[in-house]
């Protein structure tokens, strides 16, 4: 996965953690964008042993980008904006 920042990226940086690892994203990033553009190769692991998943539809339909956000439970990474200090856990 090489999600790459292409246009409209002049926005303030923000940082949060995923599995304890610091990820630097930008204000207005969804968790999916920030995680994948921030160097992670997947956002969840399939329960059925066929590897990592990194979302698919990017519009809240496929439910294949669920992450655990500390304090707010399971969220879709594609429809949740990244916020400074968020603690995200991949499952």
């Amino acid at each position: 996965m090489t999600v790459t920042r292409l246009v409209d990226q002049d926005r303030p940086a923000l940082s949060f953690t995923v599995d304890g690892l610091e990820i630097v994203g930008k204000q207005g990033d969804t968790l999916l964008t920030a995680m994948l553009a921030g160097g992670l190769t997947y956002v969840r692991t399939s329960e059925f042993g066929d590897g990592g998943r990194a979302g698919f539809c990017w519009m809240g339909a496929c439910q294949d980008c669920w992450v655990l956000v500390e304090g707010s439970g399971i969220r879709r990474a594609c429809t949740t904006l990244a916020k400074p200090g968020m603690k995200v856990i991949r499952r």
Partner: protein, 450 residues
Amino acid sequence: MKTVVVVGAGPAGIRAVEQLVRSGLRPIWIDEAPDGGGRVTQRPPAGFTRDAAALYGADAGRAKRLHATLDAMKPRTDWRPDTLVWNIRPETRTLQTLTGGSEQGEVSYDALILCTGAVDRVVPFPGWTMPGVTTLGGAQVALKSQGVGIGVSPVLIGSGPLLILTALQYIKAGAKPALVLDTTHFLQKFWETSGLLWNTPTFLRGVMMDFRLRLSGVQYVEDATPIAIEGDSAVTAVRWRDTGWKEHVTPCDAVALGWGLKPESQLADLAGVPFDYDTKQQNWVPRRDSAGRTAVPGLFLAGDGAGIGGAEVAELAGARAALALLADNHLPSDAALTVHLDTRLRTEARFRAALDRAFPYPAKLAAKMADEVSVCRCEVISAGELRAAAAADAPEMNRAKAFSRVGMGRCQGRLCGPPAAEVLADALGVKVDQVGRLRGQPPVKPIPVQ
């Protein structure tokens, strides 16, 4: 008329609300997104600076007008963003909602317009669940609402206007596709040219886009077949076959795929609206009249959730459904506009029929997918397991679901429904409409359990 509710704030929902407000009503307006706007005309979150021309290209004017209406209508309605309608109880005319991902609620209605949109229709093939593979719509959302590409050298696979549009948008953003693979033969599209003249401006725009892609230097193949997405934990290449049956491998760093759209019609289903198989569109669509009325009292449907017509038609249909609601309840409505919309919708339906013929869903590609392909990405159920269910006496989709778990996962068959039906029908030797469709189940999307 006490309470009117509109679900959805895309092109159909915006135009529906506009007519209701014009008539003096203050509807409850619910949208799952925080800002509304739908998909085609989705706005990026705060902080992004591209203007409408950069975001929406040739659709900029229409997008700006829609956004102006969206923003003007919000304070004139009971606007409830970030709210998922996850169930509908037609007998008590109640919606069950979830706001902000945690707050449960109930909304009663006397009349309801559902404008629930659509999602990409896909064909699974080996490697499609790997990170780096998205829908065509997803690839577009990434660029439009986040300014990111799914890769810098993606392969785009599918058919239809969205394929070409996405390719041009990626070229413009500096991520030149490694390959654009269209499963439709050029002549298939060419023969439908006359029917596409029912919307000449849109047709000409499509032709211009097609030329621009052909002149861009990007490899663009037609009548080709995707075989597999290669890579271990990340996409490295796409293997495909050309029209002469010769195999090729194109290195890439991401893949987007999509063959038209499928209605997000789960709420209409839960409300008890009967569905029909539309053979042109190759979709199950909720039954409604040309104004959006259904057999369920008080329930109207508009936009792509009521059958795929595209954003332009969704605007017309949204307004039309609202006018029908107003007329049926003896409230003031614009009679001249009603006549105008009926004429426009009839013409657009002819255009859409030609478009559907020009860019068919590759049913055979889905039906013949290899046994080992995960047809259901949520539960990782292979086509072979589905075929085994067919052999074990599953004559229709819901039985096949019970036997195999296809469609039982987190997306509830949104993605695997159409291709799984093709696999099952092929295995049973019947037409695809004879295996039916996956019935909707509440909640229409996963919600937290208290």
